[in-house]
Symmetry: C2
Subunit: 694 residues, 2 copies
């Protein structure tokens, strides 16, 4: 199979061309009235300005890090290609976010305007925008991997072992960029959101997205830089991370080139399946909410089904009739869908948990907060069991045996390969799942523009329908993101052990170094969550002060005769986000290296185990608690428990405000934290092995 | 040394006699006016009634469990003495709680009355009551262990191996009883507290502890059954758990009888040191808050110093000049104190974190809630580093080497013995630390009685001074409780591995069984926290409904012309607590067994690692977040940020209400959960080894 890797480039080109077509399709629509154009331009400007400054800040980190890696490469403590791969990973990941953000800020007004005509047109524009992002991410990912593969193999003539073990180190750049983007964007969006809500909605009593609110543009910018650009970088990283980890395990399992080729083949199949799936996404004029959801689901399910069916002959052909590996792929796909289902169950107001949570608002804010925390903690049970089962099933079906004697037998590594390929299976149709996920923020923004430009009620209703649908599909998307993060992290963990060439028996949980690492791993997750959460709070407090100041000092603002200073708020959010995103990210880079230098490879393995397990549980907890609070509030706003303005609603708003950093900053960042710790550890393994205290 | 174990019985008798003397001292004081006597009697009645019903419910569990254990013992799946030891552990643990509760409910009115005379007298009564509890716990613990030791050795003529490995299984009864008591009591106290506050303080606008509030007696009963009885059972379990785990490791380390004798000798020394320490606790009339704290600290520090100094010759003598073990003991003592210091730093309003948290109330409830969660998460960093350092130091100094090859070398087990003995060192002066901890709820109750019986302002001021001091000393106590729980759990984990006779190399973190166990361990902690938290909420909601009903239906209640139906609230809390405590406790028993039956011993080891690490971090997070909210509220009530009744105060009350189940139900229960999982696993190791799927 070693000569068939070019199909990766073909797959990448298919994805990128499809993204281009979708992008052209979007741009043909009109941006609407001059007022809408003006608002859209302001949002675009703010988002561009933020991303530019974010990339400038991040560039410093990347340059410093590349120099360090270069020096370490010279003295042979890291592999020679790592500094370059680190940079390309970062650039591609940033590019994925940038393109997604560009198209999203060009689609929001177009979606609003199209929704003015019909719901179906609105859906088409918003979904096409999401598709641009989805296919850009997978296209760039496949391109990055394929180009590097060919450079290593045909330009530098490296052998399989080197290719597999070098490429797994490439994830670090993408992970680091993704973490910056997620944390920075997450802080920006939530600071603006909290600031706008606290003063605008609660204190001044004006509706959401009212143009008199000085933070309203910042709020809409936030949707783009956080939910879109952050998510793009994030999933780019998951996508290539799963393929690269499987690469490394494939070599270790001794299957030869075939095992390296399989993830690429599956990814390309997934691209084609995703393209086909998108054609099924259309709706009748004025379809119901249920029908809308139906059409999106049809598209993703068809893509998943095609990918699952096509994986059978591919696996059979590539892996010489090894059906066990096919079972592992299916296990990944099923696990991703199941986690998505449970995410929806716990966060959608169609189900009991969120309805009960809304009910808790009757006894006040404290009760709904406790209720949400309890719901979030409880909601970790199903995903953990699902991941555990997926790990065991994919491990066993791929040939592993649980009668583990501590020796690295071939069966054992074959089983581990199954875990990696399960993650790849889970993410193979990322093109379309990400499209259904990324269209949500566009619809959200469209709603904001409709409100600010004072379009009719019916437009807002339609964009709201699209937006609320986005919340549901986002839940499914989150399931795949988080499930794949866990499986990829586990695959990276075992790759690390392989690369470090450490004896399995030294990694016993009774080894105090491993135990210490485990404690430190849990600690990183808690500390990171704390820092990202309070970062949002600090940034939001600045916005609150500024919005209050504007309401007080700008005469005629409330009456609508004077215009707010939107840029001041955008600027505050930008500064806050850039300032606050650095420390949490650095922790993820520095702590694994320090732990390695003190406790050696054993400590790092413990740390990775701790980060993965605790990070996974915390990510699910935070995302679901936040999602449930959000939807409980919406449920009350829909007229239950007294509706808008009631005491219950106030309590629910408090819950939602607490949930904001949970679900949009800390929670999703943890996915990346897990993998950044792994990739950092892998890159620095040489250094740690050379110098460590114990 | 094998003939010197009788000193355990002597130590036990000293502790119990001292408790008796202190109890007599308390009972000599008067209970005050008829009104006070009436209130005290009502609280006593409620507490007795609750405990009686709690023990009845728990008895069913114990009987069923003993039968199961008996059957398993007959077919040789568990050790023969386990069923009996399980029962005695439960009975002693329950007895420790019962005696503590009895004396506390007899001391509350006496403390209020004594405080009417002078602050010093109030302190003496309250502290003596705490001392009864503290010394009863250590006395019963030493007695239980010593009696069993002599029975096994001299009646049944068992050898060292059997004694060590059988006795470590005795912890399960104590742990199970402790978890029931902590969870049940925790639910009771917080349901009453939340119910009383939400309706009384917030809705009806009457002060705390006002006799018109129907939930006021239940609230005061709660302090006794939760904070006193629950804590007694909890620390009884920690105390014997650390000694028994060290027993088991002592045998494995191959030091012979000496290593078994050492923890007993240290415990007895700790008893004597604690007795001496209590004599230093007295204060001048009308001492300042600082002086009060000073005297309590003097007492505990003197006791700790005596214990630390005396441990040197004892260790030298018992362990044949092995100074390394002495270093391990000191490491435990220092770690406990440091964790206590950081607990205080993060939760006391004398320090920046809580002051900043109070400031966050300026922007509303959501901000203070996020701030508290962030503070709690951040506060886990120091304790985790301290525990990690303590583990490494005690391991290395006791002779372990971190160049772990995966084989169970003698050096390695000697190092592990160091971890166990560090936990024993940490808890050796439990008599006095628990006394300073347990006196808090008595002072709290005294304040309630002073308020209800309408004693003068000065009495309330004095009891408030004592109470607020109790919060600070409780922080130190918590440090020891939680630090020792972590070390004991680690010691139990390695004992488990020893007893299961599993190869260290099979316990590699890369083993999917171990990884699955790790995930499940984290899951138990999250699920348990969720359940205990929502249990409080459900029980509290019933109380809220009842209190509202009484305010509405009982004519003249608000005017003070009619009396509230206190018993109805006590009854509701009792029912709620008993109903809700069962499931969380059963999880801790059932999940480790199930995990073992599916994944075998390796899965259980993973689970114990996960439970210990995640449980420790969550316990610190929850306790500290709750403590900080509580003190931020008190700080505002002291006149900052607008003081009582301001918007800031309302926000802080919301934070405090959320913190209640955090710090008094879920958080402290996690300590026990960790150890119950370990002891259950140890007891059922035979079953798991005989039957397991993988």
């Amino acid at each position: 199979m070693e000569n068939l890797f070019w199909i990766g480039i073909v797959g990448a080109l298919i994805a990128l061309c499809f993204a281009l077509i979708q992008s052209r399709k979007v741009m043909k629509f009109s941006e609407g009235t001059p007022a809408m154009q003006k608002i859209a331009a302001a949002i675009r400007k703010g988002a561009n300005a933020y991303l530019k400054r974010q990339y400038r800040t991040v560039a410093i980190f990347f340059i410093v890090m590349a120099i360090i890696l270069g020096v370490l490469a010279l003295i042979d403590y890291v592999a020679p290609f790592v500094p370059f791969a680190f940079l390309t990973g970062g650039i591609y990941s940033g590019l994925a976010g940038l393109i997604g953000m560009k198209i999203a800020t060009n689609s929001n007004a177009r979606t609003a305007n199209a929704a003015n005509e019909s719901l179906n047109k609105g859906l088409q524009v918003a979904f096409s925008s999401g598709a641009v992002m989805g296919f850009t991410v997978v296209g760039l990912g496949l391109l990055d991997i394929s180009v590097w593969f060919h450079v290593l193999k045909y330009v530098f003539h490296r052998d399989m072992a080197e290719i597999a073990q070098t490429m797994v180190m490439f994830g670090m750049g993408a992970s680091a960029m993704a973490l910056f983007a997620r944390v920075g964007g997450g802080i920006f969006t939530k600071a603006a959101d909290v600031g706008a809500d606290l003063v605008g909605k609660v204190e001044a009593g004006i509706p959401e997205d009212d143009h008199r609110n000085p933070a309203v543009i910042a709020d809409n910018v936030g949707d783009n830089v956080g939910d879109v650009a952050g998510m793009g970088a994030d999933l780019y990283e998951s996508y290539i991370g799963s393929i690269l980890a499987t690469f490394a395990l494939g070599y270790a399992a001794g299957y030869g080139w075939n095992s390296l080729f399989l993830p690429i083949a599956l990814a390309v199949t997934g691209v084609i399946a995703s393209v086909i799936g998108t054609f099924f996404i259309r709706t009748k004029e004025e379809a119901s909410q249920k029908q809308l959801l139906g059409t999106l689901r049809t598209g993703t399910y068809i893509a998943a089904a095609i990918a699952a069916v096509a994986a059978a002959p591919i696996t059979y052909f590539v892996m010489d009739g090894n059906w066990g590996i096919y079972v592992a792929i299916l296990a990944g796909l099923v696990a991703g869908s199941l986690i998505g289902y449970f995410t929806e169950y716990f966060t959608s107001d169609s189900y009991k948990p969120t309805k009960k949570l809304a009910e808790a608002s009757e006894t006040g804010a404290a009760t709904i907060v406790i209720g949400g925390i309890s719901l979030g903690l409880r909601s970790t049970v199903a995903p953990i069991i699902i991941v555990t089962v997926a790990v065991i099933v994919s491990f066993l079906s791929a040939g592993g045996s649980l009668n583990f004697t501590g020796e690295a037998t071939v069966e054992f590594t074959k089983g581990l390969y199954g875990i990696g390929i399960a993650a790849v299976g889970m993410l193979s149709t990322l093109g379309i799942t990400l499209a259904t996920d990324a269209y949500g923020p566009v619809a959200d923004n469209a709603g904001g523009i409709a409100e600010m430009a004072e379009l009719g009620e019916h437009v807002r209703e339609r964009t709201d329908a699209l937006d609320s649908l986005g919340n549901t599909t986002a839940a499914t998307g989150k399931g795949f993101a988080i499930g794949s993060a866990a499986l990829t992290a586990l695959a990276l963990l075992v790759s690390y052990v392989d690369i470090a060439e450490v004896d399995y028996s030294a990694l016993s949980l009774t080894n105090p170094s491993v135990l210490s690492g485990l404690f430190i791993g849990a600690m990183i997750v808690f500390l990171f969550s704390a820092l990202s959460m309070s970062a949002v709070q600090r940034a939001a407090q600045c916005v609150v002060v500024e919005v209050r100041r504007q309401f007080k000092e700008i005469k005629g603002l409330m009456e609508g005769t004077a215009e707010a200073d939107y840029e001041a708020c955008v600027d505050l959010c930008t500064k806050g986000a850039l300032h606050e995103m650095v420390i949490p990210t650095l922790i993820a880079v520095v702590v694994p290296i320090l732990t390695g230098l003190v406790f050696g490879v054993e400590g790092v393995v413990g740390l990775l185990g701790g980060v993965t397990v605790v990070g996974f549980a915390m990510a699910v907890f935070m995302s679901n608690a936040g999602g449930a609070w959000d939807n409980a509030k919406k449920y009350i706003e829909a007229g239950h428990h007294g509706g808008k303005g009631s005491e219950c609603h106030k309590a629910a708003v408090t819950g939602d405000t607490i949930g904001d950093p949970f679900k949009d900053t800390s929670g999703p960042s943890l996915n990346i934290l897990i993998k950044l710790c792994s990739t950092v550890s892998i890159v620095f393994v040489g250094l740690v092995k050379a110098i460590s205290i114990f």
